[in-house]
Assembly symmetry: D2
Homo-oligomer: 318 residues x 4
């Protein structure tokens, strides 16, 4: 038997005993070390998701250690440290997962081996296909915006301008290497961008908020024929665009969302190569750690986003 967190009602995770998962011939059994709390799970926890049936078993940002391998599995052995891709049941002591969805974690601390959200950011940035010395604007300096910023900075940009409304987020972005941070409550982002790019506008801009106002702002900071990359998830109704102007500016609009498994795997592989080789580290982004029996607190904190909060994770090992 093992422990697993089940959401039984809004805001009510309960830690249950459940049978150990059994593995198929192409799967491995992983003892979970950590499982990140994803923003997309907060609505479920708060009871805002329609059509959710209880008990519900979220958790998909898993890392851990291989305990057992199926008879058809090559390339993994018990004791291997891995980041894995599962779609649920991740807030548990053990998961069974296809070997092809596992990636070596090398010496990366397992609570920092957040391969799944990193894969999203990798794929978004690769889709933008940056060129050397591009000027880049990132609107939204939360966890996803931070990941995008780190990956953009790995690709030889000239200026990286980060905009947000939270002073602590902007301070973190600055510390992470932004050329310039802009508190849009106090400064005009278009004016800053115009000044820093010789009046031209950004080559590429990323929107990582999911809200209307920043979306509209993208059109005012991007150069003609530049790229507008939508990373945020725009829930809550229609979005308005001044399409006559956006069309006249010949923007390439990239929806940085991915659902094909091979693409997700590509992003996870790339992200883990960057982490394991030390080119990238997430140690300044995982700010809050909780034990499995504190999972309701972990979710509450992720909803509250106290100052300094970026990402919380459930740490399974004692």
């Amino acid at each position: 038997m093992m422990k697993i967190a089940a959401l039984r009602a809004p805001r009510e995770f309960e830690v249950l005993d459940a049978p150990m998962p059994e593995i198929q011939p192409d799967e491995v059994l992983v003892r979970v070390a950590a499982c990140g709390v994803c923003t997309s799970e907060l609505d479920q926890w708060q009871g805002k998701s329609s059509g959710l049936s209880y008990p519900h078993f979220p958790g998909h940002e898993v890392s851990g250690v291989v305990i057992e391998v199926g008879k058809e599995v090559h390339g993994f052995a018990p004791g291997d440290r891995v980041a894995v891709w599962v779609t649920n049941h991740g807030f548990a002591e053990y998961v069974a997962v296809k070997a092809e969805y596992c990636f070596p974690a090398g010496d990366v601390p397992l609570d920092l081996a957040l391969a799944e959200p990193l894969a999203c950011a990798v794929n978004a940035v690769e889709l933008a296909n940056l060129s050397l010395s591009d000027d880049v604007v990132i609107i939204g300096a939360g966890f996803m915006g931070n990941l995008v910023q780190k990956l953009v900075q790995l690709q030889g940009p000239r200026h990286v301008i980060v905009a947000d409304t939270r002073p602590d987020a902007l301070e973190r972005a600055k510390k992470m290497g932004a050329t310039r941070v802009v508190d849009v409550r106090n400064e005009s982002l278009p004016e800053v961008v115009k000044e820093m790019t010789g009046g031209q506008g950004a080559d590429v801009s990323f929107e990582a908020t999911g809200a209307q106002t920043p979306l509209t702002l993208m059109g005012d900071v991007t150069r003609m024929s530049g790229k507008v990359v939508i990373v945020g998830f725009h829930q809550g109704g229609m979005r308005e665009l001044p399409l006559a102007y956006w069309n006249w500016m010949a923007f390439q609009i990239i929806n940085a969302h991915f659902r094909e498994i091979p693409i997700i795997m590509h992003g996870m592989r790339t992200g883990m190569r960057l982490l394991t080789s030390g080119r990238l580290s997430l140690d300044d982004l995982v700010t809050h750690r909780y034990h499995l029996n504190e999972i309701n607190t972990a979710f509450q904190t992720a909803c509250d986003k106290p100052e300094g909060f970026v990402k919380s994770t459930i740490v399974m090992e004692s």
Copy 2:
């Protein structure tokens, strides 16, 4: 002296005498054979364009014969038949134009050598970067939609599905080679596309109307990770998009608009290569021809769009 049409007031072209244009060392003098009437000029003629000062000299879809070449010009000689790029003053007997903006017309009838609008369509289709056997939807079967259709059909698509509300436009699209035409007043385009693509949706869809309803429709006919190409000019206020869904579907949104001169030249060169080699013909698209002194009628007809109308042109030669 030569004749030139000047717009002196809304709906009032007057044909004036004007001095012959003088050429610079890098220019050629072209005796105009024909100059197409562009949809973008209709608002000006109708008095709907703000900020227009009279007299106004439109006309930018010019073809003709080289009469004289500047002393720095290589590659062109008097007598050469050419399609040229000018930005105005085209409804005239002569234009002076840089030699690098001229393209050989070969044996193409000059009233069919519509290089400038063809360049727009070429660049739109190239931006879409079609793959062999793509399923393509084109919404809007006017002149631009027709050009896009012809170019798409040159690139090895599987299905080409054309939607419009005008029976004569759909009949023409069918005759031009559409796999299937859909009168959206009577049929559901999404259902037709779904059926013809095995439930998947189009690989690429082109919107060539500039209106909200067809724009919205694009999202319902395009496959996940497919391309949505906006060719129409979306004037008249904001456009609404269900961005949460479009983002979830990972559409690549391409604004097929171009303002850089090298790109326009690329499109003109490509278009004229297709016309002069016989791969492409526009003889079914130029439906109405007028003499210079009938120019007000030509514009009125282009506004009225009578049944069977696609494109009108001013033919300068007697």
Copy 3:
């Protein structure tokens, strides 16, 4: 029991009785209608391949009718006409094959549903990423060169210039739509290309022979920054290149060879979409048909390449 052709010694196929193949849950059983003879199999038949162990069971260009489906198979049912990808054992009455390696053949005659070689040509041409109105040179007008030509012509080229040394091959290329054919024994290909391209050279050139002389010729017919696509298989030692010149000309050299299964499947899917929609037909390329018990004659003919020969296939059904 079923019939299958086994190569028991050089030039000695024998038709044997063998047990019917059994299918796995993800496989289908296909009654073979036809299996093409591939050039790569001729060396084996002639005893020129080192390391071949007998009996050997070639045959990988299979089409037929689904007879039985495994319990995990969706999307196929008995009676479906399909083109399939197998790697051997294709000269037989039945093959077992994964359902995901099967593609609907629609109404295409099964002896013309040559999906596997078509996939090679599709992938080669897609890798070349042609632009509208490109000038294209194809050296080698055998079966692969013909497939490349047909696919190039589907993509809106300006000139398609085909070179070979066999009058019947050139005549066929001309009939298939080449703008110009060149017998390199009598004419200078570089001079013809120069004249037809205004002195510039071809945008893309394909080499489909596998020999040194045509390879060298590629550099003399391609424009600066143009694409040199190597389709032929260059066996028999090193090849010499004037790399200083090729580098100075900034050629992009594309090795059009593919071994990843997803890419092969992509090519098969695309090819079958073109065949089933009628955009493409191979009926002028399959010139020789033989029954299974005539398989040695089929191979001998493919080696001899008599006048008018392009491709031979083994037709299984009576």
Copy 4:
């Protein structure tokens, strides 16, 4: 009058007095601060270039300060520090150059503003279109190899493996950030690459020597469907390639050479953006500085390549 270095015979530069260059309306007059010695000029100096007529005026890696601007020039003013593109006459106190060939040098020391060779390296690396976490091999750790290495490292690679035969070059590559350096006299590069890439081979390999042996080696260190980028200039006869194997491996072979002026300008602009923003510095690469009257020594040193030598430049200002 001004000073300019003229090559009057092999190994004999003479510093002459010459009239000040006069500028055209679209040009600027630049007081030269430094002009780098390019490897391509060494053959000329040594008398190995055929067809050279004396006096010859080399020098094309120029930086300096704007002294005067033509009347049509916008965007530059006297006093502006710039890197410029000229094709010759650069070892002089002044050059006249089109304003569009000038790029702001910001605060970069002018002897380190080597925009022209940097443009070559930028364009080579951009053509390779690296992906995040690529494993990269660079053969040849001279000046061009070093520039490529610096630019590759700006783009988020996983491993950067540099091979050469000179211990000082390898030490420098290591100091510049190579993951691993390989002295090919003592170690097997293919074995090192195999080990570091999990047996797969490099995603991208750059050849920066221009010699046969390293060229051949590229095929042994690159993964299937990987990119082989030829940066070196392969003079001195034909090159041999095992094309059967390279074709089977589906290598994409990129000739990283450029002659179109817009592409050169793109590379210069990108390079200068990287230098002026501090993302890139060449201060460890310019190892030897000489005054104009020491120009023969500068060239002799560049031929001798003493230990520690990377690049020499002529510094014009006192």
